[in-house]
Symmetry: C2
Subunit: 517 residues, 2 copies
């Protein structure tokens, strides 16, 4: 190919990409403002019963904090502490959690992408933590930093995704001890939406805070939440040193953490929904209270990972009725305490992106919409019980979130009288497709998914007879081809890279899962 032809071809390529970009609206949806009444399966007496049981557990069974600093903090706060077990009384717990803000605003590096959270406001955040991916060729394999970047790019472009999260997939091509630096940089560089901060160790969490300070300014962070850390509990009733140290790193800088008991219903809770919620609630309350010991008034989020376990195999399940019910109950408890609430959104246990994955994910998503979760984590990509993130499922889930978003907004009445007048104009036996009201409203009237095929069988067959998985992979490829990186201040970018380079010189590139704090 001659130089000129090459240039022309490149220009055509660019032109085609630009057209694809223009055709696709990648503007982020604002934080969801719920307009539908929530499903609240408990009456006031039942909420009080869960609360009383949880407080009884805290006071009498106690919670183990495997961390000397936390134990000292609890003692100072006035709690009874015996060895590693803290027995906070209900008065202290209530007093502490009372200072958690009911709502706050997440700040993105692009202020247009700031997000209100809490009460009737909710955001969708992609899945994280997958040790495998199903890639653009539907191959299940070990992920790399390039794969992670692709997921961050997709999260940037999908309107219902409000965050790039952090390690959507684990980038195995980079040393584990340094991985949190590159993950954080990737989630910042490829998008100007909000992102999550790694909590894999207290020191890693400090690195994330330093990176945030470079990006937003340390002072700005003092009264502006800019990222989210997740701290998993070890159910039943244990919080460990790694998580508590990371929690302190975040809370000291006024950054919110998700206080997430890790519940496998029936294995590490009683085999019954209401009692499992009572235990989970005690666990969440103990961590939420501790965030306020670390820093009074710091935002914090009532979290959990929640599954039920197959009593045949011990495997976690997804989309079961008890998960839905427990989510509805937990939502009520979080609102009872006036604390924002995180749950897990589009979970699937299937090994491929098949009907099972669809049923499980849609069931969980619908239950969470009715339960009223605020921080809707794991909202895209999660399959195989979190063992892999699927490119196909990622884009499909994101569209489902956009649909769930629309549903949760509720009903609009602004055109009611005009449209009822149209009924009279059309009359019995008429049709609406050409009517002025239809023409004025059809684009906003009914959600039209890009990824679901509604054509006739013959047309579908003529177009290749492909299933959702193949269609979604093509869609992901198209999106990635049209991706445009949002601008990042050059000085800030250099500062971030300098910090990462310095820390990579300091941190041995060895396996550092057990690195010292």
């Amino acid at each position: 190919m001659s130089g000129v032809a090459e240039k022309r071809s490149a220009r055509r390529g660019r032109g085609a990409r630009r057209m694809a970009r223009q055709a696709r609206d990648v503007t982020m949806l604002p934080a969801l403002k719920r307009g539908l009444p929530l499903t609240e399966p408990m009456d006031e007496g039942q909420v009080a019963r869960i609360d009383a049981a949880s407080m009884h557990i805290l006071e009498n069974t106690g919670v183990v904090f495997r961390d000397e600093i936390a134990l000292a903090d609890w003692r100072r706060a006035g709690a009874k502490v015996v060895d590693e077990t803290v027995y906070p009384d209900r008065g202290l717990v209530r007093e502490l959690i009372a200072t958690i803000p009911e709502t706050f605003t997440y700040h993105a590096r692009n202020p247009a992408n700031n997000l209100a959270l809490g009460r009737d406001r909710a955001i969708f955040v992609p899945m994280t933590g997958a040790p495998y991916l199903r890639d653009l060729d539907d191959i299940r394999r070990t992920p790399t930093l390039a794969d992670l970047a692709d997921f961050h790019k997709l999260a940037h472009m999908l309107p219902a995704m409000h965050s790039t999260a952090h390690h959507i997939v684990e980038p195995y091509d980079h040393p584990i001890s340094q991985r949190h630096l590159r993950i954080t940089y990737s989630s910042i560089k490829h998008s100007d939406k909000t992102f999550m901060g790694m909590t894999t160790s207290p020191r890693n969490a400090e690195d994330v805070m330093e990176i945030c300070a470079l990006l937003f300014g340390a002072e700005f962070m003092e009264d502006h939440p800019v990222t989210t850390g997740n701290c998993n509990g070890n159910s039943p009733l244990v919080w460990d040193e790694t998580m508590l140290g990371a929690m302190r790193a975040f809370c000291r800088r006024n950054q919110p953490v998700l206080c997430s008991p890790f519940v496998l219903g029936g294995a590490n809770t009683p085999a019954s929904t209401a009692p499992a919620v009572a235990q989970l609630n005690a666990e969440a309350l103990s961590a939420l209270a501790y965030t306020q010991i670390i820093r009074r008034g710091c935002p914090a989020i009532y979290g959990h990972y929640l599954s039920t376990v197959s009593m045949k195999s011990g495997a976690p399940m997804a989309g079961t009725p008890e998960i839905s019910l427990m989510n509805m109950m937990i939502g009520q408890m979080a609102r009872h305490y006036r604390v924002p609430w995180r749950s897990s959104t589009a979970l699937g246990g299937a090994k491929t992106f098949d009907a099972q994955a669809g049923y499980e994910s849609a069931t969980t998503l619908m239950a969470l919409q009715m339960a009223g979760a605020n921080y809707m984590w794991h909202a895209a990509g999660w399959n195989e019980a979190g063992m892999h993130c699927s490119m196909a499922k990622f884009v499909t889930d994101a569209e489902q979130c956009a649909m769930a978003y629309r549903m949760a907004e509720g009903i609009r009445w602004d055109d009611f009288d005009a449209a009822v007048a149209a009924v009279a104009e059309i009359g019995p036996g008429g049709h609406y497709l050409g009517h002025a009201h239809t023409l004025a409203n059809f684009q906003r009237a009914f959600f039209m998914p890009d990824l679901f095929d509604n054509s006739a069988y013959e047309q579908w067959k003529a177009e290749g007879g492909i299933d959702t998985n193949i269609r979604a992979l093509a869609h992901a490829r198209e999106l990635l081809a049209a991706y445009q990186e949002p601008a990042l201040d050059e000085g800030i970018n250099e500062a971030l890279l300098d910090y990462i380079a310095r820390r990579e010189r300091e941190i041995p590139a060895a396996d550092a899962l057990n690195q010292e704090y």
Copy 2:
């Protein structure tokens, strides 16, 4: 093979089948009694606004009844009638629908399978009307009476299915003019659950009533609903002669019909949810009112088929947010009028049993559970916008209905104190799998789907790496192999066969879609 060996082999076969039967509980679940609060997106004022708009439409735009008898009936009832258009005033409509029973009991030929319906009671009924099936080999083809029998057998064995419905698939190997007879016989013979009655013409509906009279006794039917007919409206605002004649056949015998406007939102309604519901509500009310002109006090069900239409292709969609919202609103309207409500449950638009089918079906099912539908039709098998019934989807949907059933029952508290005591006994860091409460409760604690794989990737791969579609087809095959036909009184069976034989002699075996009444 020698005779003895043959017998032994047959015995082993029977033994194996018996074991499979014993292993699988095919006992029907009772009618669902809802224990979850419903999602009601409208306040009282908004319900009143829909009601007023619908009444305004009835009084001023009117409804076309393309049927001389119906027009005469309406005139006698005191309605204004101009040509084919009836303009019933709101007083008359309210007076008429007031006599529709809010609840009633469906009677099955096996009284153990009787079903309460209305208010907080709901039943699941398979899809009907598919011109194609996806069979046990996943081949999409034209169905036969044998295929229909297989679906009736599956409906009989699946615990969450409360009815065999009627023509789940269209049996093309039998003349259309006589088909309703064989369809009805198949739905009765292969199961002792409730069934639906064909309404493909007024005369066909009379045949169904005669068959029901042979099965239950004509007198019994006078105060016991034993079947359901469906009468589709032609939206906007038209009811035709076929449907109205069939309606009369059912109502005269006190048998309930579903008064079902056939709504393709945006095509035959305004392109907006609330106004579309106002129109649909007017249509449903006009038919519900007419059932009470036919026979005062006859049970009737507020129905509809409801889809939104892609404004790109005109194709009906499934699982869209607007369908969910409209279902929630319609549920409120039906309860406002104290009439049982039918909706469509597990709709999919996919051409195969893929992720799309799963998302769409689960979304619709969840929305309907929260909306509080009583007669949950099209609850199993529906894919390709109703163009095919899928064997794989049929059994999977039925399991999903069992899961949705469990969710809708709500939370149980009977073991709360015992299980909270277990939390204290287990203590921080313990595990529950061996605890007495777990052992006593694990079988009822968490739903474990048979059709979804939750095993680890390696195990799944070792077991063949199959997806839900293949797994579900194997499950359907197993069920059919274990099927046992419920007993039917020999005299009644002969009477049914005699009736069918006589009618088949009387009805020409030609295309009789336009047969005379």
